[in-house]
């Protein structure tokens, strides 16, 4: 009888491969290195935790005495969010259309896309700072900053969405002799409208969040009272404001879902 020595078969299922191990090791090393770079030390952290506990205690009970300041700040934030979203949506619709390389001549689409890219690249807070310098403190600066942020977001996604549409449907409309606006209305928009509404509601939600913080640099909204509460160490008022912000954003999300359903997204 022939005896064969069979090599032991080792199961390689679920074995983490070499590259992953190296990557995890590198990440680990990086975390240690970076933590030391940013001045992290356990003692500071632990004392900070202690601080944090005291901090939380000072937040309760929430301060309910300054409702008028709260209300004024929140309503200003809402105004900023609404106006910025509406203006942003209205501008992004034609601008995104102009940025669609399959519909527009190259010079126009390139210009539109560059404009959109510039709007996207700077953080809303930075834009808020610049606008405060330009138009003064207050809600106008905040609104303008968020309009720019909205254009950067919706414009890019909208232009991308238009570039993904089926050309065949557009071709058929073109063959009927329709002028350009009708071509867009019946050939392009039906294909992208639901996505556009999705982007717009997302941006409305995003603006709602951002409108609560542009006030920190003086651009209006609840951010102003929030910042000064921090500086006064009035943490119970801080808590009130934070809870209100969270509630408003949750309500906003629910409303947005309802609107999307009505417009069949």
């Amino acid at each position: 009888m022939l005896s064969t020595t069979s090599a032991q078969r080792v199961s390689t299922a679920f074995r983490v491969d070499l590259w992953t191990r190296v990557l995890v090791l590198l990440l680990f090393v990086y975390v240690i290195y970076a933590a030391s770079q940013i001045g992290f030390s356990w003692e500071r952290f632990v004392s900070g935790l202690d601080n944090g506990a005291r901090f939380l205690k000072r937040m309760f009970p929430p301060d309910l005495s300054k409702m008028d300041i709260l209300w004024k700040g929140i309503s200003e934030s809402l105004q900023i969010a609404v106006l910025a979203s509406v203006a942003g949506i209205l501008i992004s619709l034609p601008l995104g259309l102009m940025g669609a390389r399959n519909l527009m001549p190259a010079w126009l689409s390139w210009t539109a896309r560059t404009l959109i890219a510039i709007c996207r690249s700077l953080h809303p807070v930075i834009m808020a700072i610049l606008f405060v310098k330009a138009v003064g403190f207050g809600a106008l600066a905040g609104t303008l900053a968020l309009v720019v942020a909205s254009i950067g977001f919706i414009g890019k996604l909208f232009a991308d969405a238009i570039e993904e549409i089926s050309e065949k449907q557009v071709e058929a409309i073109r063959a009927t002799g329709a002028p350009f606006p009708n071509l867009v209305l019946f050939g392009v928009l039906p294909q992208v409208l639901s996505r556009f509404i999705g982007f717009s509601t997302y941006q409305l939600d995003s603006n709602l969040r951002n409108s609560t913080m542009v006030g920190i640099v003086g651009a209006g909204g609840i951010g102003g009272p929030l910042f000064s509460a921090f500086q006064r160490f009035d943490y119970s008022f801080v808590f009130t404001i934070l809870v209100t912000i969270i509630m408003i954003i949750v309500v906003g999300e629910l409303l947005a879902n309802y609107v999307k359903k009505v417009f069949y997204v």
């Binding site: 089926s166 065949k168 449907q169 071709e171 058929a172 409309i173 073109r174 063959a175 009927t176 002799g177 329709a178 002028p179 606006p181 009708n182 071509l183 209305l185 019946f186 050939g187 039906p190 294909q191 639901s194």
Partner: protein
């Protein structure tokens, strides 16, 4: 009114020096169904698309004539081009319906050359157009489908909507680019019959691109065979002998 199409010296070269259409001369009139057959790549689709300028000819003239008055489609631009496109209806191989719109809205697309943007956005089309649309839906057998979304329809149903859309334009010529290539045999027959009947009813010539020779023989009043960018056969379907088919398509095994 009698309508006709006169094509003279039509040439199309996608890359310079390699013409796909080599000087086509063609007259189409009356109310019959003209079938253009030929192998893939021989320029059938290019020819049809040059007529309504979805493809721009390199040279030549394409005259669309009504009762003697002619317009050269090859040279038109901008507004004049759009206005004349309204007079040419087209049916596509893949139906090219706007999927997310309803059947009714797809039909009304045929009138987009005649309504302004504001009315179009608000979906306020002239009542005469709405009536015409309902009539056409009955004619193509889709009377109950007016408010169905286009993507809920079968292939045959979609092509009927496509034909109805083209007819909504009240065109002077009806073009069809491989209208049955995506359909099963039974549905193909129905579609071809519909095209032929509508041509006669509306008193317009119908030009159809196809690769199914049997279908062409059965429904066409006139067959045009193309090969290598030129017309090599032009006559009645029964004159289409095996000799001619060999010339058009090449090879023998399939005959």
């Amino acid at each position: 009114m009698s309508h006709s199409l006169e094509i003279r010296g039509l040439v199309k070269a996608y890359t310079p020096g390699n013409p796909v259409l080599k000087s086509i001369d063609l007259d189409v009139d009356g109310t019959g169904l003209t079938a253009i057959i030929g192998p893939s790549g021989t320029g059938k689709s290019t020819l049809i698309r040059c007529i309504n300028r979805l493809v721009d000819p390199t040279s030549g003239t394409i005259n669309l004539c009504s009762d003697g008055r002619c317009v050269d489609l090859a040279g038109l631009k901008g507004r004049a081009l759009r206005e004349n496109r309204r007079l040419i209806g087209m049916v596509f191989q893949e139906f090219n319906l706007v999927e997310r719109l309803t059947v009714m809205e797809n039909l009304l697309c045929g009138r987009l050359g005649y309504v302004g943007a504001w009315a179009a956005w608000r979906r306020k089309f002239p009542q005469a157009d709405v009536e015409h649309a309902f009539d056409l839906l009955e004619t193509v057998g889709l009377g109950d489908f007016a408010n169905q979304r286009a993507d809920a329809l079968s292939g045959g149903q979609r092509q009927r909507v496509g034909i109805a859309r083209a007819l909504m334009q009240r065109p002077k010529v009806l073009l069809a680019d491989e209208p049955t290539s995506s359909l099963d045999p039974k549905t193909s027959f129905e579609i071809m019959l519909l095209l032929k009947e509508q041509g006669r009813l509306n008193n317009i010539p119908v030009i159809v691109n196809m690769h199914d020779v049997e279908l062409a023989r059965r429904y066409a009043d006139r067959v045009i065979g193309m090969s290598g960018g030129q017309i090599v056969y032009d006559g009645a379907p029964d004159g289409l002998s095996d000799e001619f088919l060999k010339q058009i398509y090449g090879g023998e095994a399939w005959l």
